[in-house]
């Protein structure tokens, strides 16, 4: 059986969604495709349902924060896998920090539920249509999104740390 490779996938995506493929590259043998954010759900649904492509497995969803990139501060990355063709895909969508909304794909992959909750938990990206979008790993009363690059690595004003144990304030020892 002829297996499709990265080029076949890229050509198929470009043929079906030519206007929405904003960029593409291949890194370490994996095809990266940037799709306009509003269309990501449709592209993944099409990849999943197209029999010749049959992207049937969602490996991971992750968020990225690029604080320097104006207008595209946040990225959502979908790692997909076709078992039939043994091709891995990375779909990226960028979001401005003022509007962190993206459509959920829990109706396509049930496993996306917790992945989207995790991405919300750490980056504050809101997945519209998610059945239960609340924090998953951090405590419920946390009031910030800790993986954003907005915080200093060592915060001297923290009160939950006993500095005596860490050599920061030798006077108290």
């Amino acid at each position: 059986m002829d297996k499709k490779n990265n080029q076949d996938y890229l050509a198929a995506i470009q043929a079906a969604f030519s206007a929405d493929v904003l960029a593409h590259e291949e890194t370490f043998g994996i095809l990266n495709v940037e799709i306009s954010t509003a269309k990501i759900h449709d592209v993944i649904a099409w990849l999943q349902q197209e029999p010749s492509l049959s992207v049937n497995y969602l490996t991971n969803i992750a968020g990225i924060h690029y604080p320097e990139a104006a207008g595209r501060e946040f990225a959502v990355v979908y790692q997909l896998h076709s078992w039939k063709n043994n091709v891995r895909l990375r779909i990226k969508g960028y979001l401005p920090k003022e509007d962190l909304h993206i459509a959920t794909i829990t109706n396509l992959f049930a496993g996306a539920n917790w992945m989207e909750r995790e991405t919300y938990d750490f980056f504050g990206i809101i997945f519209d249509g998610h059945p239960d979008l609340r924090r998953i790993l951090n405590m419920d009363d946390m009031d910030y999104f800790p993986m954003r690059k907005e915080y200093v690595l060592e915060d001297a004003t923290r009160e939950d740390k006993d500095d005596r144990f860490f050599g920061r304030n030798n006077n108290e020892l």
Binding site: N138, M139, M142, P146, K161
Partner: protein
């Protein structure tokens, strides 16, 4: 004068006398039922401590109590995240008096290397701790040392320490009501 372990007794023809509270303390110290609250690598060291090479059951601790209701000693071995904190406190509150807490490893004692937003910086921020065992992770010998220190506490403390003002004050500082063991 005679001796049972390190307990002074008065011996005579056919009898042996000591005080009741000392006898009870001795019995308690040699039958402490631990609840292992093991979350990470210190838990692995604790498993070794329970295994045949180090054999914690020598100290009357054969039975791990996996319900807090029937446990005397809460052994917290491993990193406690802030999300897990309320769970640990509930477990502690569900234990019946008398109860002791052994904090095993750097993470449970102080947060350890996890100087981060998600990790509780020492379990003594939410529950009182009797004995701290340092180390990352501590060797089984150190855990046994900690357990033996717990035994010393059990032998020397008042059998009714829960009625003492100090103990009430201590639990009060953790917002735990001494009368029902629940959070205030």
């Amino acid at each position: 004068m005679g001796k049972i372990e390190d307990l002074e007794t008065i011996n005579g023809e056919g009898y042996q006398l000591t005080t009741l509270d000392k006898a009870i303390a001795l019995a308690r110290a040699n039958s402490v039922w631990p609840l292992p609250f093991a979350t990470s690598c210190c838990g692995i060291e604790f498993m070794a401590t329970m295994g045949s090479a180090y054999d914690l059951s020598r100290f009357g601790m054969e039975r791990m109590s996996f319900t807090p209701r029937q446990a005397d000693l809460l052994i917290v071995a491993g990193t406690i995240s802030k999300k897990l904190g309320p769970v640990l406190k509930t477990v502690y509150e569900q234990m019946a008096e008398p109860k002791w807490v052994l904090s095993v490893g750097a993470c449970a004692c102080s947060g350890g290397i996890f100087d981060t937003y998600s990790v509780l910086q020492g379990i003594d921020r939410i529950i009182p701790v009797d004995v701290y065992v340092p180390g990352c992770p501590p060797r089984p010998e150190q855990i046994i040392e900690g357990v033996m220190n717990i035994h010393e506490l059990v032998k020397k403390e008042s059998n009714r320490r829960r009625y003492s003002d100090e103990y009430k004050h201590l639990l009060g500082s953790y917002q735990i009501d001494i009368d029902n063991g629940q959070e205030k």
